[in-house]
């Protein structure tokens, strides 16, 4: 990158120091660049983000290939009468990778603002000109942007291999492009946006907890559930959580089973999703949690 005595970077323009007096902000990296390197740093640290789903997909593929070779009959049955089976192999592939993604997300979020404090590296990160806001946004973008895309790519590749391996059996019966469009739509609406308050909460807990982050993340939720039940004899909070986990009413062109039923999401689906208040209240709650996490990180040092 930079050579010799120059500290100028390709896309930064340090102004000369005027007469020795310090001009605040004399050499600035663009926010995009700071964000990009902050995200890369997360991927360096947390290689399980892509290794775990890759392993799961590889194991699944292995099992699938063995199944195709050794059990052509049962496979033939599956494709002949899909209704009898809850899931086709293609659905099953995307399901297991997506479940892995959920687990990976929880593990990542709970460690994201905790590990840097427990290994004291926060002092190194804070010695560099990257703000707490940039850091927290970069960490939040892992479950909300990076992981949905990684998950999508892995599922597409895995399903592609399965389709190739199974030759005509699945090819002809599967509406491939609508299926992948629905998958991407599902990942970006439900997982990236509708689940945002969950990620915000987990990141906040990870910034807050000195230890046992998982307990801090779950026990207060359980406490609210129990208290509401005992005091008000209602379960509104539980219903709210379940509807949130279910993906909300506006984000469901993703049928639980049966490839045949898959339709590509339409603009109307997207419009309904974007118009749903649940999406925006969720994003607002997420923003509040993240703002609190930024504030905590600003005050905190190693633990």
């Amino acid at each position: 990158m930079s050579t010799g005595d120059s500290t100028a970077m390709p896309d930064s323009s340090p102004e000369p120091r005027a007469g020795g007096s310090p001009a605040p902000g004399l050499a600035v990296m663009s926010p995009i660049r700071l964000f990009y390197w902050s995200v890369r740093r997360e991927l360096w640290e947390n290689r399980f983000l892509y290794i775990a789903p890759l392993i799961v997909a590889a194991v699944f593929l292995l099992g699938f290939v063995i199944g195709v070779v050794h059990l052509p009959l049962s496979h033939g049955n599956a494709s002949r009468s899909p209704a009898k089976h809850l899931l086709t192999p293609l659905d099953f592939a995307s399901l297991v990778v997506m479940l892995t993604y959920l687990v990976v997300t929880v593990v990542y979020c709970l460690g994201a603002l905790h590990n840097e404090r427990s290994d004291r590296s926060i002092l190194f990160w804070k010695s560099l000109p990257v703000s707490d806001v940039t850091t927290v946004i970069a960490k939040a973008s892992i479950p909300m942007i990076v992981l949905p895309l990684i998950t999508f790519a892995i599922i597409v590749v895995a399903q592609g291999i399965m389709l190739l391996a199974s030759a005509a059996a699945l090819w002809t019966r599967t509406p491939i492009l609508p299926m992948w469009a629905a998958l991407l739509y599902h990942l970006l609406t439900v997982h990236a946006l509708y689940y945002a308050p969950f990620y915000g909460w987990l990141l906040l807990v990870s910034a807050w907890a000195r230890r046992a982050a998982f307990l801090w993340a779950t026990v207060p939720v359980a406490a609210v559930l129990i208290l509401e039940r005992l005091v008000f004899h209602t379960s509104a909070f539980a219903h709210m959580l379940l509807s949130r986990i279910g993906g909300g009413p506006a984000a469901t062109p993703f049928p639980p089973s049966g490839n045949m039923a898959i339709q590509a999401p339409t603009l109307a689906n997207l419009g309904a999703f974007l118009a749903s208040p649940g999406l925006w209240t969720g994003l607002a709650v997420c923003a509040l949690f993240l703002a609190a996490a930024v504030r905590l990180r600003r005050y905190q040092g190693p633990i």
């Binding site: 990158m1 930079s2 050579t3 010799g4 005595d5 120059s6 500290t7 970077m9 930064s12 340090p14 007096s21 310090p22 605040p24 902000g25 004399l26 050499a27 600035v28 990296m29 660049r33 700071l34 990009y36 390197w37 902050s38 890369r40 740093r41 360096w44 640290e45 840097e116 290994d119 004291r120 590296s121 926060i122 002092l123 190194f124 804070k126 010695s127 560099l128 000109p129 990257v130 703000s131 707490d132 940039t134 600003r298 005050y299 040092g301 190693p302």
Partner: protein
């Protein structure tokens, strides 16, 4: 303009007063050592200067309040908190990539030059490096940053003497020039005596003594006195007295060196000896009057 300017800098944790109204002024081109016992407030002062903790009182670092915008300050301030803060999973090449990616004043070629002079492998992870090598790596990263202020908080903690020596040699020979300023704390006071241009004793959140090294040599003198002359020497009101091999060594402040010559060889004391004299003597007094 001063690099660091503090007036009435104060920090309270609950009922503990970590910094009790410190006035501090560090000019460009100085190397200031902050020296004090554990819990004296050194790290609190440094954390406030680096924008890592909020504070009361006036504080300006390079003209701005560090707590208001730490990330902006870090374009011109570099710091090593202690040797063990580089994350263990980080590869050497990643460290270079990352700092080059986020720091506008980082000279990657320079850092690579420093690393080439060590046994550090480019693809090693921090966890595979020895403690000394991690320090070398961190130092290489920091020295390649064209910072105006470098802050080192116990930078050589846990290092053996060879690395400690190398660390300060590199700092002085390859990094320091008159346009930079260094602020450092350490427990190994003796080792940095000839590195510093100024030092400051801090005790119980207050400044016990501020002194430049030129002033130090004129101000303090030490003489080992023969037992027969001890009473006469004590007449000159030494600051402190200690026993070395059964003989008394007396430490004087602002005494006439010519007058001291009669008792034996007059030397400039170590900072550590003055530290013991000043802090050791003032501790009960400041405990009574400090709060």
């Amino acid at each position: 303009m001063s690099v660091i300017e503090a007036t009435g800098l104060r920090k309270v944790f609950g009922t503990t007063i970590a910094l009790d109204g410190i006035d501090l002024r560090v000019e460009e081109g100085r190397i200031l050592g902050l020296i004090g016992p554990n819990g004296a407030g050194k790290s609190t002062a440094i954390n406030a200067i680096l924008g890592l903790t909020p504070h009361q009182g006036q504080l300006r670092v390079l003209g701005s309040d560090p707590w208001a915008a730490r990330d902006r300050l870090m374009r011109e301030v570099a710091f090593i908190a202690d040797v063990a803060v580089l994350p263990r999973w980080l590869r050497v090449s990643q460290a270079l990539d990352y700092v080059a990616g986020v720091h506008p004043r980082f000279d990657r070629a320079k850092a690579e030059g420093f690393i080439a002079g060590t046994a550090i492998g480019r693809n090693s992870r921090v966890r595979d490096l020895s403690k000394g090598m991690v320090t070398q790596l961190h130092l290489a990263l920091v020295m390649a940053i064209d910072a105006r202020l470098l802050v080192l908080d116990e930078p050589t903690l846990g290092l053996d003497i060879l690395y400690r020596k190398q660390f300060y040699d590199a700092l002085l020979n390859d990094y320091f020039d008159r346009s930079r300023t260094i602020l450092l704390t350490t427990h190994q006071v003796e080792e940095i005596q000839n590195v510093l241009t100024d030092f400051m004793f801090i005790n119980r959140g207050r400044i016990a003594l501020t002194c430049s090294m030129e002033e130090f040599e004129a101000r303090y003198a030490e003489v080992t006195v023969h037992p027969e002359r001890l009473a006469a020497a004590r007449e000159l009101r030494p600051l402190h007295e200690r026993q070395v091999f059964g003989r008394s060594t007396l430490l004087f402040e602002r005494a006439d060196r010519g007058q001291l010559q009669q008792f034996g060889d007059v030397r400039t004391p170590g900072i550590a000896d003055v530290f013991v004299a000043v802090i050791g003597a003032s501790t009960p007094a400041s405990a009574a009057g400090g709060r």
